[in-house]
Amino acid sequence: MSKIAPVLDIDAILDDENTRIIVCCGSGGVGKTTTAAALGLRAAERGRSVVVLTVDPAKRLAQSMGLTELDNIPRRVKGVGSHRDSRGDSRGGSQGELHAMMLDMKRTFDEIIEAHADPERARQILTNPFYQSLSSSFSGTQEYMAMEKLGQLRRSGDWDLIIVDTPPSRSALDFLDAPERLGRFLDGRLIRILMAPAKVGGRSAFKLLNAGFGIVAGALTKVLGAQVLKDIQMFVSALDAVFGGFRQRAEQTYKLLQAPGTAFVVVATPERDAIREASYFVERLAEERMPLAGLVINRLHRSPAPALSAARSTAAAEDLESRGEHELASAVLRLHAGRMQLAAREQREQEHFTSAHPTVPIAHVPAMAEDVHDLDGLREIGELLAS
């Protein structure tokens, strides 16, 4: 008994003016960025004003949208027209636009500091060696900054649809956790301990705290070295000024993601690992009360001759081979059997997902012979997503 999932109606989501944010997420290598770009192009050609925010796209995909550098500036994509798809649907004369941008993580971080601290304090933070490594290499910074940028784009009101693809994280869930992790650090006991001497100015207002600090500071000095500890303390006290801003913005962005105008699209390939990750993601989004639109399964293998089963093909090929006849047909039947087996395995992976999450709508994109290099390729994927 095969399980049938509801169909993910991409055009209904793209055409709905209430859809203001689409977040594409999933494990690495499943085609998130391509999906985000294809959705963006399709939405623009159906009349919406769209910006696609990408994080570290493959070079040729970036080029297909006219992007050449990571510069945080949305650039208009050329060659976007009003579009008539294969069914002849078109959204009247309305003319959409597509912009695309690549995230510059460090610049985004610097801008937050500059916006929330006075110039002297900002300078102290920006030149601190600890901040410099944090802003360019902390594994959660990219996730955090992608969410921050999303919030900024939304507040600017310049686009009526923002599509974001999430960073290629260690785990697909990192981008949801990063803001909280940074927040936990900023609110944590460690910070208060590190801040304590600066705040009380040497007078031990809290004996217990200071005694605790002495022991911890001693251990930290031993392990990290005195200079590192000094840098951290300087960094933390300078950053104190912008804490409130950080927390507030992280919370705002989080609420934005929960709002009804947001649609999460989970992307997977029909492989066990990717589907498992997609399942985790769907569960996690439900836990966080984030609105899930559905699942996109990329690179699905199908056969144009589905009625001829793998078993019958194999048997027929064996028969021809034993008779030594029709070499072409027997080789083609073997090829077809392999294809049908692959399709069946992919179907099973998808059914596992659907039995665990029967209400999650699914859209499919068949495997293509070549990678996408241009707008025509993205347009084709958009059409497949919507069909």
Partner: protein, 334 residues
Amino acid sequence: MSSRDTDWDGVRLHVVTGKGGTGKTTVAASLALALAAGGRKVLLVEVEGRQGIAQVFDLPPLPYEERKIAVAPGGGDVYALAIDPEEAMLDYLEMFYGLKRMGKALTRMGVVDFATTIAPGLRDVLVTGKTSEAVRRRDKAGRRVYDAIVMDAPPTGRITRFLNVTQEVAGLARVGPVKNHADLVRGVVASPETAVHFVSLLEEMPVQETLDGIAELHAAELPVGGIFINMVRPIGLPKDVLDAALKNHLDQAELALGLKAAGVVGGPDDASAIAQALAEEVTDHAHRMRLEKRERASLAKAGRPRYELPLLADGADLAGLYELAEAIRAQGAA
């Protein structure tokens, strides 16, 4: 040591990286089995907290503890360790400073959390440090505890930064204990006893990332190993058939006759309809083979040893790992 000559004799730390979706964990697991074959002892290390090893071996989640998870063909043992950065930090404090009890206090205060999540590079140093310790470890008689270590490493996009630990902690510590520890780890990772292997597919993006990753490792003076080309499909059809398909010259009439002779079609209309559908499949396959040939040639330009691993019909299950291990041994990678 076995008496067979392999391409990586003398290498004790095998770091396996690859773009997401290429089957990095599966290849790392198979390589561990292949290296253990014939009575050796191999440790398979996981560093990203994804419990990928447990999943490919169909086991419950692994703890932060070296435990035997598989027996290799011919009687070797594969042990596994899922490195948790927090535990590695406590280990480190105890091993180098005798600060076990302090470790607990530091955990409560959020110091360990801070060090392993926020402090730049420290997490990577702890993880690679724990791995290096296993590489160097000797028993009481002075013998190596493990014949080889296989690390299921972060993806290609992050591998150089991950292994280039001295550079990584430079922002955090230019002098002092962290720096000293990083230098020690670097000594192991950059030595001829280490090889960083890449897992790729015959597809454009993974191939490009592999070539970029190799160039980055060279620039960072880290030791590049081989390229494991994963999920390779058999060519399946003679060259002249593929060429004809690319030009849309496949003999559909002959194909239809063959289908009829095999008894898989109804009437003549059915035969030509199915022949046409199958011809479409052949054309698709021919395009794919042409692309794979091009990507294979690109990978060859890297000038590294290459190994081809077949696409597993039933996915990467336990039996599949042994099949891949056999392919790895047959090609001399282990």
